[in-house]
């Protein structure tokens, strides 16, 4: 039996489509502006300002970036390295922690969970943490400082714990134990296999954090060759002299000729590119992960 659509339905759908389309355009608009500006001739930007459609098409922004790629490549390698190492290490530690904390026969799991959770409730604040890292751990200008603070967050550990609990039945662990497997074998052979969607989600959160991190660089890195990509971009946009320094060390003087405005935008596209390219493939996992996380609380 087909139920008759009510009279409001058609009007409602039209409104829904219009609102959704407007919202989507609002989300895309800033990206379009940046993309367009990156392909605009610098001179015409200075004369007429940024526009939605390039008035004079030009690749000079990109050409400048690729002409002196050393700094971008440095920043890229720092970011790729920290992202890969940080995500891998963070996943390893957090899956283990999540597994242990969800084991019902582990007597002190609640105390340890609270030990981790408490850090979201109260903390020493930014300054004591900063002094610990710079003065006592002496990690200024090291790659370690770009990786270690982001390895784990209580939120991701709790998420991981919930994922594993819902994906790995207690009986499976029990029977593996009877067969003589130790806890680490159970973890590496069974738990990791069964909780792949959860690991993908948490891994993506981690990778996104490392890729988009500019804060750590801004606090602890003075050596420009160790800047993370985003902090490098931040300096390109906000520090007038930064682009002029691109040719430094190559022996070529760039002087006033550099197309600074279009180069800034081209740099933004080059920095954001990987995210935009991977996004269509990656967002499914996020949606799936958030769905599980939201439903299981």
């Amino acid at each position: 039996m087909k139920i008759k659509e009510d009279s409001y339905m058609k009007g409602f759908r039209i409104v829904a489509v219009i609102v959704i389309v407007c919202a989507s355009l609002a989300c895309l608009f800033p990206f379009l502006l940046i993309i367009s500006a990156s392909f605009t001739q610098n001179e015409s930007i200075i004369r007429e300002g940024y526009k939605l459609v390039p008035s004079v098409f030009s690749m000079e922004g990109y050409r400048t970036v690729f002409q002196f790629p050393k700094q971008v490549l440095d920043a890229y390698s720092v970011t790729v390295f920290t992202t890969i190492v940080g995500t891998t290490l963070g996943l390893f530690l957090m899956t283990m922690a999540g597994y242990v904390l969800q084991r019902r026969d582990f007597k002190y799991r609640n105390i340890f969970s609270f030990f981790i959770y408490f850090t979201t409730l109260f903390g020493g604040g930014l300054v004591p943490w900063y002094i610990l890292i710079t003065k006592y751990l002496k990690l200024t200008d090291t790659l370690t400082v770009l990786i270690y603070p982001g390895l784990m967050t209580p939120f991701l550990i709790i998420l991981m714990k919930n994922f594993i609990r819902s994906a790995v039945p207690d009986e499976v662990v029990e029977s593996a134990k009877i067969d003589g497997a130790n806890d680490f074998t159970i973890y590496s052979r069974i738990v990791l296999q069964l909780s792949m969607p959860g690991i993908a989600t948490v891994g993506l959160f981690l990778a996104l954090h490392y890729w988009n991190d500019w804060f750590t660089s801004s606090l602890f890195i003075n050596d420009t060759s160790k800047y993370q990509l985003q902090y490098y971009l931040y300096n390109v946009i906000n520090t007038m002299s930064f682009i002029a320094g691109m040719g430094a060390g190559t022996g070529i003087s760039l002087g006033q000729e550099l197309p600074t405005e279009s180069t800034k935008m081209a740099m933004s596209i080059i920095v954001t590119g990987p995210i935009l390219l991977l996004y269509p493939f990656v967002q499914r996992y996020f949606v799936k992960g958030l769905t599980i996380g939201a439903v299981k609380g």
């Binding site: 109260f122 020493g124 806890d183 946009i237 958030l290 939201a294």
Partner: protein, 307 residues
């Protein structure tokens, strides 16, 4: 005695589990608990060359200064105020979009628009700085070039503090609504079709179905997100504020929050005692707030309590 035996016994049987958890515990011990010792800086006049407990003790002087100069009040007002607006508008918009999206029929259109709305969440906050530069910078910004084309006077947004209140809110929504929308959409998908079918048979129109079925069913998700947000109401969106405002002193009155103040005191003026004090105030205030909220919620409905 009995307890120690229990721990020892547990350690013997599950030593491997302890070992697997150990790196995590050490991480939080080092990264989160050790800095708590440094709270002492809040009561000293800091000197980088002496050790922590040799710094000159000044009691509550730092707090007194922050309080008397009115800084603390302004920062608290801004931090909490912005967060309340973020929570209200963010959730209303996310729920509205999720409901509209869930009623769409064309699958490809639905998937495409959902992806687009979620996209800003993935780009870094530095991109916000690029966008603001692109749109609002005085000489060549998109806004002014459009205004000039229309024959209007260019506007100097960077010297107009009140505009930034709206810009911050707009960019917050731009960046974050997609994320909560996806969560709401997931819970809408989880609502059984039977409710809607039954409502249709009873002659409920689409608006009634949304009002009487969808929205009440989203309550759990809403409360969950609300509690998370309330828990961090003293923590601002540091990335957002810093990337939009940076070190533009003109705009501090309306846009400075606790996080940006602490960061600036550390990076720019290097006033360690003062910024530790502000940070401690933030942490304590937040702690008291979350405890109170949790206590109230426990009394109303135990299920929703955070801990």
């Amino acid at each position: 005695m009995l307890k120690r035996n229990g721990l020892l016994k547990e350690f013997k049987t599950n030593w491997l589990l302890f070992l697997m958890l150990l790196p995590t515990l050490l991480f939080f011990l080092l990264n989160s608990y050790t800095p708590m010792v440094g709270i002492y800086y809040a009561f000293t006049r800091f000197d980088f060359n002496t050790s922590l407990f040799n710094s000159q003790f000044v009691g509550l002087e730092n707090f007194k200064f922050l309080w008397k100069s009115g800084v603390l009040l302004r920062l608290t007002f801004n931090t909490v105020g912005y967060n309340i607006v973020f929570i209200v508008l963010g959730n209303v918009l996310a729920i509205a979009l999720a409901i509209l999206l869930s009623e769409l029929r064309l699958q490809w259109f639905k998937k495409l628009t959902q992806s687009i709305l979620f996209l800003p969440y993935f780009v870094s906050f530095v991109i916000l700085s690029v966008i603001v530069y692109n749109v609002f910078n005085y000489e060549s910004g998109f806004l002014n070039s459009t205004l000039k084309q229309l024959g209007a006077e260019p506007v100097d947004v960077y010297n107009t503090p009140w505009v930034w209140i709206f810009l911050i809110i707009i960019f917050y929504l731009w960046k974050n609504v997609g994320y909560s929308m996806v969560i709401y959409l997931a819970s809408i998908t989880g609502i059984s079709d039977e409710y809607y079918e039954a409502a249709k048979i009873d002659g409920a129109n689409i608006l009634q179905r949304i009002w009487y079925i969808t929205i009440p069913m989203l309550k759990t998700t809403f409360v969950m997100l609300l509690l998370f947000a309330l828990g961090s109401i003293m923590k601002g969106q540091f990335d957002l504020f810093y990337q939009l405002i940076g070190n533009n002193g003109m705009l501090y009155n309306t846009t400075d929050i606790l996080d940006t103040y602490v960061y600036r005191s550390l990076k720019v003026t290097f006033d360690i005692g003062m910024s530790t004090a502000a940070g401690l105030y933030q942490s304590l205030f937040g702690f008291v707030l979350i405890m109170t909220v949790n206590y109230i919620i426990r009394r109303i409905n135990d299920e929703y309590a955070l801990f």
